[in-house]
Symmetry: D3
Subunit: 246 residues, 6 copies
Amino acid sequence: MSEFKRAGNRAADALRPIVIQRGFTRHAEGSVLVCFGETRVLCTASVEEKVPPHKRGSGEGWVTAEYGMLPRATHTRGDREAARGKQSGRTQEIQRLIGRSLRCVFDLAALGERSILIDCDVLQADGGTRTAAITGAWVAAQDAVNWLIGQGLLTKSPIKEPVAAVSVGIVEGTPLLDLEYTEDAACDTDMNVVMTGSGGFVEVQGTAEGASFTRSEMDALLALADKGIRELVQAQAAALALPLPR
Amino acid sequence: MSEFKRAGNRAADALRPIVIQRGFTRHAEGSVLVCFGETRVLCTASVEEKVPPHKRGSGEGWVTAEYGMLPRATHTRGDREAARGKQSGRTQEIQRLIGRSLRCVFDLAALGERSILIDCDVLQADGGTRTAAITGAWVAAQDAVNWLIGQGLLTKSPIKEPVAAVSVGIVEGTPLLDLEYTEDAACDTDMNVVMTGSGGFVEVQGTAEGASFTRSEMDALLALADKGIRELVQAQAAALALPLPR
Amino acid sequence: MSEFKRAGNRAADALRPIVIQRGFTRHAEGSVLVCFGETRVLCTASVEEKVPPHKRGSGEGWVTAEYGMLPRATHTRGDREAARGKQSGRTQEIQRLIGRSLRCVFDLAALGERSILIDCDVLQADGGTRTAAITGAWVAAQDAVNWLIGQGLLTKSPIKEPVAAVSVGIVEGTPLLDLEYTEDAACDTDMNVVMTGSGGFVEVQGTAEGASFTRSEMDALLALADKGIRELVQAQAAALALPLPR
Amino acid sequence: MSEFKRAGNRAADALRPIVIQRGFTRHAEGSVLVCFGETRVLCTASVEEKVPPHKRGSGEGWVTAEYGMLPRATHTRGDREAARGKQSGRTQEIQRLIGRSLRCVFDLAALGERSILIDCDVLQADGGTRTAAITGAWVAAQDAVNWLIGQGLLTKSPIKEPVAAVSVGIVEGTPLLDLEYTEDAACDTDMNVVMTGSGGFVEVQGTAEGASFTRSEMDALLALADKGIRELVQAQAAALALPLPR
Amino acid sequence: MSEFKRAGNRAADALRPIVIQRGFTRHAEGSVLVCFGETRVLCTASVEEKVPPHKRGSGEGWVTAEYGMLPRATHTRGDREAARGKQSGRTQEIQRLIGRSLRCVFDLAALGERSILIDCDVLQADGGTRTAAITGAWVAAQDAVNWLIGQGLLTKSPIKEPVAAVSVGIVEGTPLLDLEYTEDAACDTDMNVVMTGSGGFVEVQGTAEGASFTRSEMDALLALADKGIRELVQAQAAALALPLPR
Amino acid sequence: MSEFKRAGNRAADALRPIVIQRGFTRHAEGSVLVCFGETRVLCTASVEEKVPPHKRGSGEGWVTAEYGMLPRATHTRGDREAARGKQSGRTQEIQRLIGRSLRCVFDLAALGERSILIDCDVLQADGGTRTAAITGAWVAAQDAVNWLIGQGLLTKSPIKEPVAAVSVGIVEGTPLLDLEYTEDAACDTDMNVVMTGSGGFVEVQGTAEGASFTRSEMDALLALADKGIRELVQAQAAALALPLPR
């Protein structure tokens, strides 16, 4: 079978151009604009000196996330969820995923009884908004932790290691890394993979669209994801190596 | 490491007792009580001669699902979602999963422009409610298809093959099949796997709780799931081989 | 006028077959499946060691109820109230009725500052769901009280006497006891009557459908209800005389 | 037992002063301020040339009601239901009762495929708001029918006879007619009775508060209600005999 | 340009007949029916011995308002906001305006840590409901303050001066004072002006409908509003000079 | 009185640095990031070939707006309105204002039966979000109109002239143009003024915070606003004179 031809001659195993811009807005303790190609997500991390009820008095902190998409982030304008009066199932599913992924690399006891809330708002969507959100959210959380240390509220980081995410999928028989929107719409199987900097799996969510997929297809996709996440973790580190703007 | 000891001396790779009782209620076109041990889910399939807006005029049908849990299905009474005025993110995530899983084995064109709605209501919960729901929902859908054929509304089945689901997880280092509640609460990694009768993957959702998991752990879990699903598909076939009560 | 002919040759003054199955689910302090013919309602009683705001600090307890119907409990699938985001007026009216009926036979001071929440969920509907719910709810509440006594949390029962409920109505001129769905749909007048074991009235709710009803019709209906409730109270006692399953 | 002493030396079987003022506001097709003593309810009847979905194409009309209470109609300010975002169970129960009561005296076929919507808004509450509302709503509906006849949209009235309502209850052993707020709060049993001008029952809703009530108590209450409703029907007729203001 | 001819030969700079009836209902600490011609708004002031969270512990009180319109206050029946489950943007805008206007003439420290809640409910609408509401709300607030003084809860009034409001607009080139509904619907520019008794501006809200308006048009409208508010403040004083009914 | 000293030595009558960046996102027909100093609002204009019900069949189009604020646009994180399930009164008030302001300069008949929806989402807030939103929304609308003309769907522009908005206020006795957050929080009187390119008023909304304001204060503020809006209209024209990025 001939290989699927990607836009801009991108190789099947190549990420889109990754941009991680810290200090994008000024009020949040961490504020990161993350771009996976044309997908752009603003991730802000807010520190609050309180925890949700199930953590009160535990001495442990909490990390959680909310996700939203501006109505015209997409080709066709979507309803504003605030106007409709509820978040869609998709929105809730994604924000739960982001929260779990972040918590997996956090030592909640070391965070102390406070919360970090990550807001991931999609300014422009072109596939992979949830994986970009997780990748950017970790950098925003890192900046919020740095702020806590800078304020003397923490002496050491409660973050155990990096976490990043990428989508993979099979389009016309070809396994591809980091799907853009048109690829996502055309794919038979797609998988979102969340991994730590040390290569452990945090989440694997594979879904057949149409036909089911085989074990060897899954293996091919996991290998691609592993490659992509290594590169994303490098991009996170590079962004954090720069001085924070302002 | 010594192996984790399961309740009732259950083997690590054993399902709980599976009961699939068809014709449990009488109004629905398909009505199945499915039990994975103490987890009991009532799955009803309702045929409606209309489709949602995105399918109107397409000549294709639709299969969708809703999920609910009775307030005292659990150890501690949960809020009634109807009284609270909204479905939780967890509920929406599960019902979307059930719907996708069923659609994957349906030929929607062969169904014709009508809908099958699956309601999965948990009467008693002891872990694995979503996997039991998928497994039972497929049998209820099969009975609804049989009803459509019996009514002369369809001449051949739009169902391509069986679909079933099981949870797997690692508890104290031991990979286990079909987690009950106490195992689920204690596990480090858990994974819900949805597969077709022919062994294809429909959904793989693995989540690290606490520590991330390795590739070899994932392989062990997928092998367990494969075994469990083969047995569940046999149980579905056995239930369907009996005459429908009433 | 010739008498209305009931399904299955049931006499005008006969109840449908009554089944009261205790211990139907295992987590609740009381769990009863009650069947009035094909109407089947699961009633669970949950004990909570707190009371609503208007009872705090009063030394008195509270008994309340919630009611729901599975979407396909009925001939035609109804909307799921949790998905629609609110309970219908009918649902609220019924759950208020169940709560009032139970409280009428409870000594709330003797219960102590704790709550019993009764959930009545209709698995299958064929008329009389609210009367079956009240009749079953009382048995579930009794089991919850027995559990409280068994736990040493109460030394004597705060339940003063039994309470049960039945519907009566006039169909084609014939007064009937315990209406099933087709009778309910056809009736001119229907009445729900809630009475105590000692024959006192707790609630009488008579409604004309179409034409108004006369005083002598009301008297005939009240006499039928009285007969039915005596039999239901016997059925409750018989169910409670058996050992609790498990 | 000595008889309960009512405020203002009112006799046990006496209504409060009844005022039925037509043409209270000017936009509605019928607009009536009804006062049962200090209880004041504004009832407006609006004609709409359409029917709800279940009546479309039936050739029949519909009559329905909505009920509300101004936040400070009561001694203590209540929440505004519009601000809270939902109607209470009590509100829904009352508006369903008003609608059923009105429909019972309407020939819906003679009304033609149009609706009469009755809004009952309590300006001041002192017990008996639902019975005042029904009594006033019928007069407002009558004025709306007169308007339809005046417009040439109907040639004869679809109203078969009057309907009115009153509360009765037992306070300290004394059966009382038309309870005001302090009596309502103190009563052991209260009953709302809706009857037609010809003496037929439309609704009987008796509720024990505290102890259950006996058959002879019910008989005493029904006799009182019958007397009260005869007087209310006379008051309705007297109000309608006057020329409509403006 | 020939001058626009108003209904009833009203002069361009004349208010409609103003009625301010205190003590309209009996439970509220202040209760005023205010009529600007056919516009009738019931304003009640309720005293509560608590403040919203942002004022707790401040030693200062709070004054706020809610606004509603009976469904048939208007020519065509509007939806009941409580039934629809939310207040419209218009409703919220108006109640925020009323609250701000009242607070502007209140010394919140002198009020002490308690709240005055003003409910403004439109019984009949004919243009200018918000300006009538503000004008009447101030009188109701004054009566509530008098009640507080009468109860010994305050020794001097926290109200610094009167506040009143009026609408002005340009219809067919003619600047008009106090628009009624048909004028409001026809106007090119309309402005709501809230002023204190001493002639200070509290709110000025001018809106072009269709074409924008010029500075000289604004000046003409402000002069008209100033005249109208002087007269409204006199009407408020006259109403307060009478003894409170009851 | 000595003059209030502004941050960065800004003159009392000076705007903050204004940036109007077109083509900020790529899916919308018009997409503008507008910055008034640190206030940054993303305004997108979406064309839809349908109109709301009240315009159907009229031959006229519609222009409307929605407004939102990212949760961490502000110093302290605010609730996400989509999660809370409703838009605040403030949000609704602002989006109604933006819609009215735009419609005032649109010839809706010339637009044809289609809609332009403006989404104004605040990425970072530092006072004046609504005035920045209006100013940017007009540019986005202009780009959407250019797109319609480019597509051959319109032959001439339905936009009659520019519209822009600015805030003015009095802080410590000094009238200031274009308030930033700290000034807004400290001001005694603030006013939002919307004007057309030709100097007509579209909206004037002045509010006293604390003390009322005088006529001469209003005149001073209106003069400042006039100056600011002239400059904003020049900035709009300058932005539109550049080629659209992409």
